[in-house]
């Protein structure tokens, strides 16, 4: 068992790695009513080509299977686990991303009882042909709901443009066609491979006694047996540095067009502190170039090319990374021309120390604000931990950044040839 104190933040994190490889973290939050817990596997939509645990041959599984598995894990022989949580005064949920699947609950009632339910339901799969078939209708409607959502379409369209092979370009939920092929055996195979405790993190945040919770989890795990932990082999095809497509237009029944543009990261293979430094540098630079207090934002807003929906972000995980900027715009082509022109112009200017400091302050403030949220802490901590980073390093890393770091990413990341555009345009009738 261990403990790390972050004096500046007034937080103490307790942790332990159990004999079966499960990592458990507890953050005490005094004064809060709610306890929030996430149980997350390092397995998401991109993990579709791998060597199943204990087998010799690699398999490729249908698109959308990680998300399908997430839905089906809630169903047990006795019924739906959602109901068990709500009987115990907790609300449960789950989500699947490119490389994580998280199961979670929040409660203001009995933490241990709900924690037991969470751990046990995730560790005791129950899949049948019948329940698998039933879910296809529900997920089919979920897919259609996203198909009708222009924000989702433009976001995914952009990622699709960037990648030739990497499975990040595949929609997380798959398609109605791809999920039709999923069987209960496929689900078990994925489950056995990726839900081993050594591939998972349990995070609990709330008004709890950390020692007590850690011992409680340890006790739960010591009563179960697991296979020996093994290294998971995942396979990805070689991904070129270039984008797969430079532009795509999707026609939908909208009144205001949407436009997103992105830059594909050429070397998305950083881990640990390098990754954190890189991610924060790109985000700081984006803030300097296009934040609300920047001259560029002011011009774009004045010219009517952006509105309140304009946003930007950089994200990188093992194997893929990209920045994206966009929102609603009356003139999508002009939007692209102006933004890419601004990026090129920024490369020619010298970086202004004041705006660098201002952006840094803004970012630190935003991070402090997000620490009010137990959800943010648990989810982000887990994401960082899977990439060998520590969430509580964010402020010191921000403080260590220099203008030189920002200059470097400006030259290396924002390359013209790494740019791509996706637009949602009004459907011509």
């Amino acid at each position: 068992m261990g403990m790390k104190t972050f004096d500046q933040l007034d937080e103490t994190l307790h942790y332990d790695e159990l004999p079966n490889g499960l990592k458990v973290y507890v953050l005490e939050k005094k004064g809060f009513n709610k306890t929030y817990a996430t149980f997350t596997t390092h397995y998401g939509s991109v993990d579709n080509h791998f060597k199943p645990l204990g087998k010799d041959e690699n398999v490729k599984v249908p698109d959308g299977i990680a998300h399908f598995l997430e839905h089906k894990l809630f169903e047990k022989e006795h019924g739906d686990v959602f109901q068990d949580f709500s009987k115990q005064g907790a609300s449960a949920n789950a989500f699947t991303t490119f490389n994580r699947t998280a199961y979670l609950f929040s409660t203001t009632g009995d933490v241990k009882k709900n924690l037991t339910t969470l751990i046990d339901f995730v560790q005791e799969p129950y899949f049948t042909e019948k329940t698998v078939e039933k879910e296809k209708g529900i997920i089919g409607q979920e897919i259609r709901m996203y198909d009708d959502n222009p924000d989702w379409r433009v976001y995914f369209g952009l990622i699709e443009n960037m990648y030739h092979h990497h499975p990040v370009k595949i929609d997380i939920a798959g398609t109605e066609k791809s999920i039709a092929k999923i069987t209960k055996d496929d689900l078990y195979e994925c489950y056995e491979t990726f839900y081993h405790p050594s591939n998972m993190i349990l995070f609990i945040v709330g008004p709890v006694d950390a020692e007590d919770i850690l011992n409680f989890v340890k006790d739960n795990q010591s009563q179960k047996t697991f296979k020996e932990k093994e290294h998971i082999e995942r396979f990805f095809d070689e991904e070129p540095k270039t984008v797969a497509k430079t532009k795509k237009v999707i026609e939908m029944t909208v009144q205001t067009p949407k436009c997103y543009m992105g830059y594909k990261e050429a070397t998305p293979n950083r881990q640990g502190k390098d990754l954190m430094k890189h991610e924060l540098s790109v985000n700081l630079l984006l803030e300097m170039m296009f934040g609300k207090s920047s001259p560029n934002y002011e011009s774009l807003y004045e010219e009517g090319l952006i509105d309140q929906t304009f946003s930007f972000d950089y994200t990188e995980e093992n194997g893929f990374g990209f920045s994206m900027l966009g929102g609603d715009t009356g003139s999508p082509d002009e939007f692209v021309e102006r933004i890419s022109g601004m990026v090129e112009a920024f490369k020619q200017q010298s970086i202004d120390e004041d705006s660098f400091e201002r952006a840094r302050k803004k970012k630190i403030g935003a991070f402090l604000r997000s620490l009010n949220s137990p959800e943010f802490i648990a989810n982000q901590f887990t994401r960082y931990a899977f990439n060998e980073m520590d969430l509580f390093d964010v402020i010191p890393v921000f403080e260590s950044l220099t203008v030189r770091d920002v200059k470097e990413v400006l030259q290396n990341h924002f390359k013209k040839e790494a740019m791509t555009v996706c637009q949602v345009q009004k459907k011509k009738s």
């Binding site: 500046q8 933040l9 007034d10 004064g31 009513n33 709610k34 959602f82 109901q83 709500s86 005064g89 609300s91 449960a92 929040s106 409660t107 203001t108 039933k134 879910e135 209708g137 529900i138 409607q141 979920e142 259609r144 709901m145 198909d147 009708d148 959502n149 222009p150 497509k245 532009k247 795509k248 237009v249 999707i250 026609e251 939908m252 029944t253 909208v254 009144q255 205001t256 934040g291 609300k292 207090s293 920047s294 002011e298 807003y301 004045e302 009517g304 509105d307 309140q308 609603d328 201002r358 302050k361 803004k362 630190i364 403030g365 935003a366 402090l368 604000r369 009010n372 949220s373 459907k427």
Partner: protein, 434 residues
């Protein structure tokens, strides 16, 4: 002291609510400015909210104002609109980092207070009216925002339901106003309206964080100066008993090129926040469609696999319950039938012990979770202002606890379906061209 240490102080016709807590790493300010929603001012008021957050006397452009906020360790400032019953509320929210967590501790709190007061009371002017440049930009942005409702089909269907269901009541109005009225608003007209707002609207300020009430009240008196003739309008709560009686359910269909049909149903409940059976209505909604153990979720989704989402929510101050579900267009009849049946079941008292107890536990959980967040907490407390009540969070929770199954059945019998709006899909949305 209860769950929340909430103190109220009246100052210059503004109510200051202070909540002292060490839970957060930030201090939050929430200004709520309320007026009955009405045809004449609805669009102006929406525009006003955005103009106010775009500049002050000292920082007369968005860029300057945003730079000042960034310098305050990324303080956030945003103005937003909401409809609470038949009121259109402007919320101006600001959040600043608690100085104690900053490496080089600075006096951000005082500066933040000043800035917030300036946003409300000292806007950026040109001559005697709002700066033309700001008004022009915000008009364009507002128009785009109104248009974008159409692009989000769930929001669009919801908006259409309200227009049909409340066709002769103020509640039909969209909180962002009417797109075709935006252009004709002049800076002068907007400024005249602004002066009315400052003079007459009910204004509440919530300050939440590691603060002291005395200090806050002191700062408010220093920074917030209203004119002497300020006189707040009386509260206008909806009288639930006067709500329209339904003789026939209205059924409205519209067709668009969407992949999934959006089914929205509106019910009148004849109960609002101030009423004694409000708690029973909460429990009714929870059992009907408020949670994942609810009748709608279990029957429409889990049993029949008709939908991914099937839920109900309710509006406390208008006293309405809204059902929404995304379904295959061909399944319309079937889904509506199942939804109506669930309501009938509740009227007959077919509510299991576990549905009933789970729902009460979940509502309790929900309110406790909501007040963990500063904005959630301010919203829970602000209900009292809108309804003209004075309920503590403890009383609220006690109210839920006391609800009996008979109370829920009685409410179920009052709840009446008014309008069904169905956005039918033609099914080829989103073709891709390269």
């Amino acid at each position: 002291m209860g769950i929340v240490n909430h103190k109220k102080t009246n100052l210059h016709g503004m109510t200051v609510h202070t909540i002292e807590t060490k839970k957060y790493k930030t201090t939050s300010f929430i200004l709520q400015v309320k007026e009955p929603i009405n045809e004449k001012n609805v669009t102006k008021r929406a525009l006003l909210a955005y103009v106010l957050q775009s500049g002050t006397k000292d920082f007369p452009s968005s860029k300057e104002l945003r730079s000042a906020l960034d310098d305050l360790y990324g303080a956030t400032l945003n103005a937003d609109l909401s409809k609470k019953g038949e009121n259109q509320v402007i919320s101006i929210r600001m959040e600043v980092a608690n100085e104690k967590f900053l490496s080089n501790s600075e006096h951000v709190l005082d500066k933040a207070f000043h800035l917030l007061s300036q946003v409300l009371l000292a806007p950026a002017l040109e001559g005697d009216v709002f700066k033309e440049g700001i008004v022009k930009k915000e008009k364009r942005s507002l128009k785009q925002q109104i248009e974008s409702i159409y692009d989000d089909k769930m929001r669009y269907a919801n908006k259409r339901l309200l227009e049909e269901m409340y066709d002769s009541e103020p509640y039909r109005l969209n909180v962002y106003g009417n797109g075709d009225e935006v252009d004709s608003i002049s800076s002068k007209e907007l400024f005249d309206y602004y002066q009315e707002v400052i003079k007459n609207d009910k204004i509440d300020l919530y300050v939440i964080g590691d603060i002291s009430t005395d200090e806050m009240v002191d700062k408010v008196s220093k920074h917030f100066r209203f004119s002497k003739d300020r006189k707040e309008d009386e509260a206008n709560a909806v009288n639930a008993a006067d709500e329209k009686r339904i003789s026939e359910v209205k059924e409205i269909f519209e067709e668009q090129d969407v992949q999934q049909g959006k089914l929205h149903m509106g019910y009148r409940t004849y109960t609002t926040y101030a009423d004694d059976d409000y708690f029973a209505l909460q429990v009714f909604n929870g059992i009907f469609g408020g949670f994942s153990h609810s009748k709608l979720f279990m029957n429409v989704r889990e049993k029949e696999s008709l939908a991914y989402y099937a839920a109900s929510r309710f509006e406390s101050h208008k006293g309405a319950v809204f059902v929404m579900s995304g379904i295959e267009t061909a399944n319309y009849e079937k889904a509506v039938k199942i939804i109506k049946e669930q309501h009938e079941e509740m009227k007959k008292g077919n509510i299991t012990e576990s549905e009933f107890e789970q729902t009460k536990a979940m509502i309790n959980n929900q309110v406790l979770e909501t007040i963990d967040h500063p904005i959630g907490l301010s919203e829970v407390l602000y209900h009292n202002v809108v309804a003209g009540t004075d309920r503590s969070i403890e009383e609220w929770m006690e109210g839920i606890k006391k609800v009996t199954k008979d109370d829920v059945v009685a409410v179920a019998k009052k709840v009446t379906l008014d309008t069904i709006f169905f956005l039918k899909g033609a099914g080829t949305n989103g073709n891709e061209n390269v």
